[in-house]
Point group: C2
Chain length 427, copies 2
């Protein structure tokens, strides 16, 4: 059904009698009236307050919108390709799960082993531990206030691992030894140019800290490896630029490991991550022991712009419906605002927040909490192609941010809902 | 505790024997070791996977971070002031609940009546209906695909009200009459300059649509009132600018109501909203019947910049802990990223994302998923004032966006947690 705000009215009645004074009494909260006898339409299926199993087997077009849809086949293919890429390099894949935060996504990403993941919060760590995962690296500077929670996970799992980048972090662990038979398994976070957390490998303190972790109390604390995130790849304009950063990060890390070895400090593992770098790994990365990308399971518009993937590799969409035609503004209104998409991506017009699948001529030009505004890049909008109620699929700029807005992901196979994934939330 | 990444190391051990080959076997997933005999620290209290009642009675500084803290006294004062402002104007307050989405917040905002709210999603509508609220206006263009859900709410509540801005919306309601004794209670959405949803009151179709709602099937459908959001106030640079928009919106709406009256179309209610306009109402607004602001219960940094409130009126904070000192960058790292704050506010440096309470010299210069980077606006950072582990309170730029990131709000009285509010989520 087309027809807009300014479309013709059919059969508006004549002015009735009894118009009240300005804003005088009229139908309101307590008003009731005899119902008309008009026939009921066929009832829609019962709908849960929380979208649930009622949607299994339904078509995506039937879902309430906005909704996060994930292509199972695409996510599986992304998972398999990254696993294969790591096999070819001879390194292990430790998928970071912060993008999706789901048991099902992490099962795909680990090739079904449910062993060897990185998490960004303790809520994730507990969620995945409860879901049967182990070898979980809490890839975040060890927080003093959460030490007991870390200890509980370390006692419970075979290999709950922590990360630190300061002598204070080590001192924390020393104050809270684990029960007999357990040591703190520690990764040293390196900052190889990313400029966020981590000790710089060229800092004299880095070697001293690695040595202290490895040797200060070997019955209590073990140095497992070194870990770096090359998030600086997100500022690149091309794959060669990404690869230059990946190479620099890898080289800096391996140089540091060699320095450690020369100093007699054992460091068995070296792990580098970021989806841009791991999507086009450089040969030098074969000398690492692990890669830990995360976003690649879904990919997103940003990754297509970085060259990490093609548009057909992006597994997630936000489904939205047209809720209004505004011909005087040459705009459609859709029921996806920042509450369903996030505000990530602003800085990169024209692909500001999302691409509209199948409609490269459309631009998302406005986003408030529950409203999105679409208009053509040029020329008049063909409203007839976008009836009110029709479903559009948005390719989000940043999958991590968009996924974080949704309490459920609708996973589909060729447009039929085959699973519901419920992510971990909170901290 | 102070001391940074580059702080001195105390007593790093000498290089041990048996260093492995490059990344050779070393402590890893399957490693176990005899525990040292170091004494345990006092145990922290048991912590639920989901923050819950265990935190009642605790101090804010004890909470796991990041955490959303709400001052009950400030929120209550904001609620009372807005109620008083509306009483003084002689209009009703219909608080919009989309900012907080909590039963407790809406109870405060309605002065305890639990009657007369606006919601932005059907998930909110159901949540508040289940929580004992009534007279709920679903202030969103009526979505065809959700008609049955609206009908269920209309049957269940005394006054579930819908909003529309097109003949198609009315046609929808006509196809699905309610049970005997119930009419669809309809508000006509006007666009008085905001440029999002709504029919322009000067559009000939507006009068025709109002008449159709009022008269086409009076036993099935009733025109309750007209509704406008003056979201354009968010682009203002001063209170007089905000008031000029509030005046223009109000005048446009009242002119339209007068036109309706002259045409014999009863329209009992006229409702205008937006926190900037309702925080400094103009006298013309006394001729309306309702105001429907929402953000004011919490307020935020953006509202202080708009002149809607003072900093001491902002009821919410994101509590975060310092997780690292990075002296070579003159930066602190904190455990609040966009996952806890949102990315709203980017466009307004230097108050880019949030203000650091009590530390106007600090700037939040970086935000990734779980990390925030703080540095002074000028000069060297006094790291001694911000020990690792110390708690900072961030005043968010946009309360609606920040609240949307949190599964629980910690409500406090003078720094002691007195309640936990759990918001509605999803659609």
């Amino acid at each position: 059904m087309d027809g807009g705000m300014d479309g013709g009215m059919d059969g508006a009645g004549s002015g009735g009698p009894g118009a009240p004074g300005a804003l005088g009494p009229a139908p309101g909260a307590s008003v009731t009236a005899a119902a008309a006898g008009g026939g009921r339409e066929t009832e829609a299926p019962a709908i849960d307050a929380k979208p649930g199993s009622a949607w299994l087997g339904r078509r995506l077009e039937e879902l309430p919108t906005p909704a996060l849809a994930v292509s199972e086949a695409t996510a599986r293919r992304n998972a398999e390709r990254m696993l294969e890429r790591c096999r070819a390099l001879g390194v292990r894949l430790r998928p970071h799960v912060k993008t999706h935060k789901t048991l099902e996504g992490a099962a795909l990403a680990t090739g079904g082993t449910r062993r060897g993941i990185a998490v960004s919060t303790l809520a994730e760590a507990r969620f995945f531990a409860a879901g049967g995962f182990d070898d979980i690296l809490y890839a975040y500077p060890l927080p003093a206030a959460r030490l007991e929670e870390c200890a509980a996970l370390a006692q419970r799992l075979e290999a709950f691992q922590v990360l630190l980048d300061s002598p204070q972090g080590l001192a924390l662990l020393r104050r809270r030894p684990l029960a007999p038979g357990k040591r703190w398994l520690v990764w040293l976070k390196l900052d190889c140019g990313n400029g966020r957390a981590g000790v710089r490998p060229t800092d004299p303190g880095a070697l001293e800290l690695a040595r202290a972790i490895a040797e200060e109390a070997p019955a209590e604390v073990a140095l497992v490896g070194v870990y770096a995130h090359c998030g600086d790849t997100y500022h690149c304009g091309s794959v060669p630029e990404v690869q230059a950063i990946a190479r620099a990060t890898t080289t800096a890390m391996l140089d540091f490991v060699a320095t450690l070895r020369q100093a007699g400090v054992p460091c068995a593992q070296a792990s580098v991550g970021s989806t841009p770098s791991c999507s086009h790994p450089v040969p030098e990365m074969a000398a690492l022991t692990e890669l830990h990308p995360g976003n690649y399971l879904f990919y997103d518009l940003q990754q297509t712009l970085l060259g990490s993937c093609r548009l057909e590799d992006v597994a997630l969409r936000v489904l939205t419906r047209v809720v209004g035609h505004y011909r005087h503004r040459n705009q459609l209104l859709v029921d996806c605002g920042w509450a369903a998409l996030s505000l990530h991506g602003q800085g990169r017009p024209p692909a500001a927040f999302a691409a509209v699948e199948g409609h490269p001529e459309l631009r998302l030009v406005g986003l408030t909490q529950e409203h999105g505004q679409l208009e053509p890049a040029a020329g008049p909008l063909d409203f007839g192609r976008f009836p009110v109620g029709s479903v559009l699929a948005l390719v989000p700029f940043h999958a991590c941010a968009t996924a974080a807005m949704h309490p459920v992901y609708y996973v589909h196979a060729q447009g039929t809902v085959v699973a519901l994934w419920h992510p971990a939330r909170g901290w």
